[in-house]
Amino acid sequence: MRLVLDIALTHVISRVRQTLVGMLGVAMGVGFSVMMAALMEGSQRDFVTQLVDSLPHITVSDERRSPPRQPAEDAYAAVEFSGLRTPVTRAGIKNPYAIIASIESWLDGAVAPSVASRAVIRFAGRDTAANVTGIDPRREAAVSKLPTQIRQGTLDSLYKSSNAIILGDKLAARIGARVGNTITLASGTGQVLTCTVVALLHTGVSQSDETQAFTLIKTAQILAGQTALVNAIRVRVRDILEAREIAARIEAQTGYKSVSWQEANEDLLSAFQIRNFVMYTVVGAILLVASFGTYNIISTITHEKTRDIAIMKSLGLAEGTVRSIFFVEAIVIGLAGTVLGWVLGFLLCLALGTIEFKSPFVDATRLPMYYTPVHYLLAASVALVASGIAGYLPARKAASAHPVEIIRGAS
């Protein structure tokens, strides 16, 4: 094996330019693959993180996936109902605090009740619609990042004045309200409340910042015209990947519709799968193109070395040994190119990570790069397999050449 390695290395080293071209081909392939994978996965993880942070991991609402069985169905085997009157008020979650206590008894995470309602906010003659969520500030800190997203004031300032409200900063800007201003909330049921803006909120997600407002649960209940209403339970779990299973368990336990963050964003996550497939296809194509460079170089070397191959075979080197020499050359080029590609890929990631990226949907941020050895190993594996195949094919052809024909030709 040392002989094979020595001859292979001598061939590779004595052809500096060809070797460098081959190495650079592999290095570019590996480098850009690593960069692309880091960028794609980084953006995906960043997006998911923002998505998960801006919403509760699980939302238990006062809806049911299928209507509850009516007593008439059991008593009379009825197959159809007609003339049912839709209730005017929201049903809400029955015994919400008992349910919360029950979930807390086994959940590795936190639970908080909330009241979701919609209202029109009026200030200085301007009207705008908003999602008003009634929360329990003490519990809210455990289920969302709301306390860290408050820009002016604090979450606890909701307790400091009656009918206090926290507005999304863009929502406040749209109506021209500031902390300390008094605004009017009008609900769809005709309730009108006067509230004091005690803090502003900035999540970084435009859609939330333009529409979201928070009050105490009691205030939201008054706005909805239903005291004791709790129509949503917000859950935060320690392991976000278990959210789907936990949601299913809560739903089975309570009968209320429990939506995990994965279910809420099913379409988006499917799109990510397609995007990943496209990414790995492109990465594979890049490395395949790079392997053509290796094939070309090993072909050229074997062509130039035809006479040496004949001599080595006439001296008594076995066909397999000769084949190994050129195969090892391809692997050496592939390995050197891979290491160079790792460095190139890492530097590209660092460079891209410094670029500021602006989106209409989220705050300006750096391009999110995800660093993992998996990307490097994956690129290296594909590059080495491609280099191996690219080297093996010409090596096999060269090694099977008949030495007599070559010696005659050389003479």
Binding site: R2, L3, L315, G316, V404, I407, A410, S411
Partner: protein, 228 residues
């Protein structure tokens, strides 16, 4: 001159034909025995089949019919790896063009067959390689690349390489064809010495009848047949 002894290579009614459509017969129905301690010259006009005969003797080529025996063992049923092994252990080749590996030093070229055989350690290979070069008048030249040596020096390196694994037979195809008279004389003297002092057999293909006359035995090939 040592007495011819045991047969080393034997061709029995060997024919070699090439070409699929229009077949060309390179050697026809040849019987040859090469014995230890003899210096055989193979002569004949161009295209007569001299080199083909040499390649058959050296197991580089496979006969279309007939049998090749190396040290009494038939090579007919051997696969390429076994034939390569016999070449490595028993035979040594010297060609008209030195055919040294250009990126390797003279010493590395000489030790290449030893490394392929793998019987000696690095130090022993180096020592033997240097001794071989010195015995051929190339003392202290082992570090040079073939491109830094004269034609005669390269051919002597090629001879040293052929002797690396102490082969029983040296097969030389026009070894002096590319050399000046002085270098040719040196090569011939080396061959003579090898035969006389070590009992090896040498088969040398040559156009030069004067050189051939200095061999122990001549085989003349015309149109693929032995005529003398």
């Amino acid at each position: 001159m040592s007495e011819p002894q045991r047969p080393l290579i034997e061709l029995r009614r060997v024919t070699k034909t090439i070409g699929d459509g229009v077949a060309t017969t390179l050697v026809r129905d040849i019987d040859v025995v090469i014995r230890s301690g003899e210096f055989v010259a193979v002569t004949g006009p161009s295209g007569s089949g001299k080199s083909s005969l040499l390649y058959l003797l050296g197991l580089l080529d496979v006969p279309t019919s007939g049998e090749v025996l190396v040290e009494g063992r038939s090579a007919g049923n051997l696969g390429e790896p076994e034939r390569a092994r016999i070449r490595l252990e028993t035979l040594g080749f010297v060609f008209q063009f030195h055919f040294l590996l250009p990126e390797f030093s003279a010493l590395a070229n000489v030790t290449l067959p030893m490394r392929a055989l793998g019987r000696l350690d690095d130090a022993a290979m180096r020592k033997r390689g240097e001794a071989l070069l010195a015995s051929l008048g190339l003392e202290g030249q082992g570090h040079k690349l073939p491109g830094q040596m004269s034609g005669g020096q390269r051919q002597r390196v090629a001879i040293a390489r052929a002797l690396a694994n102490e082969p029983h037979v040296i097969l030389a195809d026009e070894p002096t064809g590319n050399l000046d008279t002085r270098s040719s004389e040196q090569v011939l003297a080396i061959f003579r010495k090898l035969v006389d002092e070590t009992g090896r057999a040498i088969v040398m293909v040559t156009h030069d009848l004067d050189l051939a006359a200095r061999a122990d035995r001549q085989i003349r090939v015309v149109d693929g047949r032995i005529v003398v």
